[in-house]
Point group: C2
Chain length 498, copies 2
Amino acid sequence: MSNGATRVLESAELGHRITKRVYARDEPKLREALLNAQFDLSRSHRGPILVLISGVEGGGRGETANKLTEWMDPRHIHVLAFGPRTCDEAARPGPWRYWKALPGRGKLGIFMNAWYNEVMAEHLRRGSDVELHARLQSIRQHERMLSDEGVVLLKFWIHLSRVEQKKRLKELERDPRTSWRVTRADWDAYRIYNRSHALWEHLLRETSTAEAPWYVVEGTDERYRYLTVGKILLKAMRSTLAAKPVVRKRASAPPAPSVIDNVKLIRNLDLSQTLDANDYSAELEKFQGRLAKLTRHKQFAKHSLILVFEGVDAAGKGGAIRRVTGALDARQYVTVPIAAPNDEERAHPYLWRFWKNVPPRGGITIFDRSWYGRVLVERVEGLCSVSDWMRAYGEINQFEEQLVEDGAVIVKFWLQISQKEQLTRFRARERTSFKRFKITAEDWRNRKKWHAYERAVSDMVNRTSTEIAPWTLVEAEDKYFARIKVLKTIVARLKDAL
Amino acid sequence: MSNGATRVLESAELGHRITKRVYARDEPKLREALLNAQFDLSRSHRGPILVLISGVEGGGRGETANKLTEWMDPRHIHVLAFGPRTCDEAARPGPWRYWKALPGRGKLGIFMNAWYNEVMAEHLRRGSDVELHARLQSIRQHERMLSDEGVVLLKFWIHLSRVEQKKRLKELERDPRTSWRVTRADWDAYRIYNRSHALWEHLLRETSTAEAPWYVVEGTDERYRYLTVGKILLKAMRSTLAAKPVVRKRASAPPAPSVIDNVKLIRNLDLSQTLDANDYSAELEKFQGRLAKLTRHKQFAKHSLILVFEGVDAAGKGGAIRRVTGALDARQYVTVPIAAPNDEERAHPYLWRFWKNVPPRGGITIFDRSWYGRVLVERVEGLCSVSDWMRAYGEINQFEEQLVEDGAVIVKFWLQISQKEQLTRFRARERTSFKRFKITAEDWRNRKKWHAYERAVSDMVNRTSTEIAPWTLVEAEDKYFARIKVLKTIVARLKDAL
């Protein structure tokens, strides 16, 4: 507090007040305006608006959230307060619970003590500056992504000076009718106020970005606090409503971003590799057995397994997946087939539906198609803008990093067959009555875009084959060969991890 | 096994087999038929079809589920295997996890080892006949309700004789490639085969009902097992598709079922009761403080609190709810406002969306309107058939029983005001700009049905005010009086429970 770097919070320790008279005059107007804006928002398909409330103990965070729900239509506000992780939250990566609770377009969400409190608590407990730096960096990236996806972030820091905090806690405690509001944790927080102050300053400065700045609000006077938060929220709602509607550029031929032309990666695959039926049977049993043992290993309880299957149509993803699940305990895994998003999914950032399906530790999720749709079908078909899929590579890498950090083993497969083989399989499917459902007009349409897909796949592998989550290209012209390669790869990756 | 009561399973110990030749001939036909039926089902909005697979260890339950997903389009089958409850499941009433996983209309779900295994495991562990009897009774009621709601239940028991079970486990164990499939639990199950056999017989007999009979299938020969299960499933799908579409009788004036005319209950409420502003402030702080202490009490971790708010339009539900939440820790509660169901909710039994929101132990859910919509708005507006809302009373009582059994405290409020007061409030809302959103054309329409609602409310209170979950009628003409009555009631009920 002495190094002249305390500017961020200084302005919130000046004793801002609003008189009863002014409040009585301004409050009804603000309230009406908020209600109207909320109504317009709910019809607009804009947003969502996500209000984060953090700050010091006793500053009135909870009361502020309550006031907002009282002012507005509570049916369209969703308030969530985050505490220590519950047991199902603790079994999954940190961001999971925030993703699960993310409101959809047209909605207003209030998160109390979300990711910032988690970072602060952890830092005060363990305190490595390097780690803090990395966490804040990751938060910035995350908020950037939310903002790019249309989420309007409003971050409020409700502040009290040390003297005011003590006064407030004493006040509450003295009155027998409110003494229950003060807990030991509040006094613990007070005791480390000075130590915390420097951390708050640092955190607020490091995470005040153009797309998600902090609003520091002095908590002492509740009238000031309510009106200030309310007015900022109103302004944000109005500008969200006034913003030009996002036009999805359906670029029929997206301009090629300057990526090295590396389709060789795909074209150079040796698709002539085969495996004969006898070897296949033996290997299948062998690697299924190994996979079974590994996923039942004691150590596996500390990990999770995420399998991603992408590939050319008719490359045999389904068959490969079945050979994997044949070795798994049915209680342990879920298969998630990914098709076009439904309305609710479309109202959320594209990663939302995948986050919802992240397995707990000890669990396995198999994605039959995945978040890579963003840089494959959405890119090729022009379903999102060029900048949308261009930024997706980085977003996806962060997503996978967050999973791996928590112990997940991610194995990603691209199954490749030749154009000729695809035609043969399409024709065969049309002939075999019980396979007819597997072939649609869309498959024939996709086939015509073979080269566009080839380029998209190459870019994808290039930009998202990271050390922690590498791609495995599978020569799938021969089904037996492909299935065994898939099983072998999973077994090897699991062995490395355990 | 000696008392001549073993008939149910006898037929599944005879050694049914199907030759390779027959299988090769029948399987492709069955597969095609299943695929077609599945395709039709997915477009039909019928069903869902829920396949339960239980049976003896080593009988091939998992393989059977795998075979069905292999035969059909895996994108429209959802397989779930239930084991010991996970920590988030253990924190909620037993049925919660089955409700959460219930497929919607047009879908096919496979539940492995669902509620039957739970009952058997518990009985073998603790073994009270009285309890078993009660559980089976509750299962019958539950399945009856599912069936009434359009869920087609197919229950398969995959059976093996004791000799066959031993043979099967030995076989698997001998082969180094499959030995991993046999666990200690399998041999434990084998050891108590004889003891279990009587229980299975009893259970199958007691829960084979007209709407959900058991199909006992011998597991020894996999070809026989696959074809038998597949054919029964096909038949069920076809008859689901062939059934006449359910016509929702929108009876404009539903015939009065023979219920005593007891609207006096409502009309006799003394709406003249009031509380002055000073007393209100004092009492509010007092009871909010008590509520705060009770919900933070150590013992509360073993319970949960479910608040139901129903009432005449403009009776002040929202205001009462806010006075309750003012005393609660924001991390502990969620408010769930109930409006008309969305598409996904409509595709499920009406209780589904409420089950999803059941709080974990230590948690609180506040329903702003609730499952009672079934016997209020849906009845009065003719949105469901007479038999639908008539059976709802019993279904709701069972639902609440299941919650209370698990430690939930359910407090249900009906807020009543006079017709005159309602008119005054409607008019005032239209005048106050920030309350305008609270009044819609629907409110004016509902008002015209005052007497129909009066009767529906009286029937509701009469039939669902149980000892474990009684209704509290709240005279809400005076808002202060109403809010304090609500708070007092919750405090008293919690005190009793803790």
